[in-house]
Symmetry: C2
Subunit: 392 residues, 2 copies
């Protein structure tokens, strides 16, 4: 039997993109309004007991360190408890987990989880060059995100014969899915040749192997399962989740062909949900780079270690494949507004399980969807969440 | 009956101060080791299921935005789930609340809560002047912390006849208590005359009306109440807690003689704990400025609105008073390492309730202690926690 002690009863996101015209609180408010307008019945503000806000870096937009507690006032909920959760790239999914535990603890019956990130308003003070000079020894050595993931691609190619074409196929697939997602940042097809010929960023990763920087927000409402039917006759339940940390720095890694934090988080989530990878209908996984999705589908147990590249070429993870992955377009096409990403992935899982995903709807046979993030100096922490139509 | 669904079974802190010789993870590790060495029995690393880290601003020390997930690896717990909670000045107390809900949810049996903040390693990039130029309209208008609290002092003086001598008595009392706390940043007495004659910062607040900038860390271990006896025969239970937000900006405030977020958080905490302010033996409250403690003791219901200054002069809140407040020295003398502050206040409550507070031990008659923080553009969010020896 799965955990099932919290239910998702409403979900919403805003179209992702470069949203220079919207402030941080505006993004959050947009996701909240989208959730309210998409709900199966009208939800009064007074029905929301508490809020968890995921934002990875409030400082980008100049308002240092208060990335959460300004949100309730801005969305008409001043007074309610509000907590900011930050956990690097998995901030949004971890905020969802914290919200689910708030509900399961009996303290709050209805918890709003909002993920929001404003990535594109970098001042020069907060840009890469200034961060590189900010004093931390690792930053000063140019350890940007592509630098953290490229060695995994190199080693995966070396050990398993993974090719740049296999990596490129991840981008081709996810950009195709993004074309079908009205909320995606990028909505145009790319070809394998375009990926291969795009400018190199950090070998063997080229520009189209990398996700963009995107502004965005997403929101879900979690309730006790006993009251979910009050909001919708099609709630989706939290079957399980898992979080795991790893040694954060590249020189400490035990392996360069997998992410132990993902493997451990997945085993915890599967155990809590009382199911395995073969029970998953579709998954939203962390494809910050093309190689990351290949590592993910291996580490999550969808394919054997080393077979992720070939499985992608073979169409396993395509929309019409046996296990569609990143139906939303993923981080590569939908975008990666950090705090919003995990919540947005869970919104996609919610829609897929309710068969509301429009042109990108996949076949739901077993009733379970999986969400995954990894981050924190690349792979210092992973979160895996499993949603289900039937928690029994 | 109080909530009682989580218990504190061990607690530790490091001596607060200007700890230039210790890195962020070193501070966290020190608090963790202090907790382990102070525990009633030996605790194995494998007994800790999950971690919540409170840090308000990871960026001060150059390692942007990953203020939590580097901690487990540094303290020998790599692999465990770890979540960073940030909620402005109440970050530590809110992390404790999240940890308590994790335990109560049934997901984690033993949750480590660490608050840690490195305040004194500011680069010029992160200093006040550069923040003032960082683009947020409020920052650019010089809205520093003293500026956010001084108008409350002015208005409180105007409406209630509160005097600078009354404010000064808060500092005199808390610095006296700090002399008795081996973990306090400042350990010397101050006189009313010294406070009055200290350099003005923002009228009517002078230097000794203000808390210092301090490095520090604190840790507690939370468990399910059913297994608390496995760790100690004197556990302390979480009786209740409350969080409330308020409109964050000064121009939006409904009043300048009280903090509605504190009043609302307190009413929630008292209700959850099934007790009132008269059941509290001692309290650690947020005295970032002297005026703040006066507002706090009124907003928490210890004295009538407007009477906080006179009550302080009369000795109500002194170590030998009817309701001792800030026995640890408070933020004014012990220091205010933001993420650590709330956790450290809860450590002091734990020690007082267990009658382990040494020279500053107060009489425990009812078995309950209260902890309070406020912050977020001054007063955008408050957290109140009530600990008890007997949850029945």
């Amino acid at each position: 039997m799965s955990w099932g002690k919290a239910a998702v009863v409403a979900a919403g996101i805003i179209p992702f993109g470069e949203l220079f015209d919207q402030g941080y609180e505006s993004l959050a408010a947009g996701a909240f309004r989208s959730m309210l307008s998409g709900a199966d019945r009208s939800i009064a503000l007074s029905e929301i007991d508490a809020c968890v806000v995921a934002t990875q870096r409030g400082s980008l937009w100049g308002q240092e360190g208060i990335g959460g507690n300004t949100v309730p006032s801005a969305i008409g909920l001043s007074g309610i408890p509000c907590t900011r959760v930050e956990n690097a790239c998995p901030s949004g999914s971890d905020a969802f987990r914290v919200g689910a535990m708030m509900v399961a603890s009996g303290v709050h019956d209805r918890v709003l989880v909002i993920g929001v990130e404003k990535m594109r308003d970098k001042s020069t003070q907060e840009g890469l060059l200034s961060r590189a000079a900010a004093g931390h020894p690792v930053y000063t050595r140019g350890e940007t995100a592509p630098v953290l993931f490229a060695p995994f691609a190199t080693r995966h190619m070396h050990e398993f014969g993974t090719t740049r074409e296999m990596l490129a196929q991840v981008a081709v697939k996810n950009h195709h899915n993004g074309c079908l997602d009205p909320y995606a940042h990028f909505r145009s097809e790319v070809t394998v040749a375009q990926v291969l010929e795009s400018p190199p960023v950090c070998s063997p990763l080229h520009l189209l192997d990398c996700c963009p920087q995107t502004d965005g927000a997403a929101a879900v409402l979690l309730t006790r399962p006993e009251i979910a039917a009050d909001f919708t006759d099609r709630p989706v339940f939290v079957a399980g989740f898992g979080v795991a940390t790893d040694h954060p720095y590249l020189h400490e890694k035990a392996t360069y062909v997998g992410l132990p934090a993902t493997q451990l988080a997945a085993s915890r989530a599967y155990s809590m949900a009382s199911l395995g990878p073969d029970a998953i209908d579709c998954a939203e996984v962390h494809d910050c780079f093309t190689i990351t999705e290949i590592l993910d589908i291996e580490d999550l147990g969808f394919v054997e270690k080393g077979k992720g590249g070939q499985a992608t070429l073979d169409g396993l993870t395509a929309l019409d494949g046996k296990l569609p992955v990143n139906t939303s377009g993923g981080l590569l096409a939908k975008g990666h507004p950090i705090g919003a990403t995990g919540v947005a992935q869970l919104v996609e899982c919610f829609w897929q399980l309710r068969e509301e995903a429009g042109e990108r709807q996949v076949a739901i046979r077993k009733g379970n969807a999986l969400q995954h993030n990894v981050g924190g100096r690349g792979s210092g922490v992973s979160v895996v969440t499993i949603l289900t139509r039937d928690p029994a």
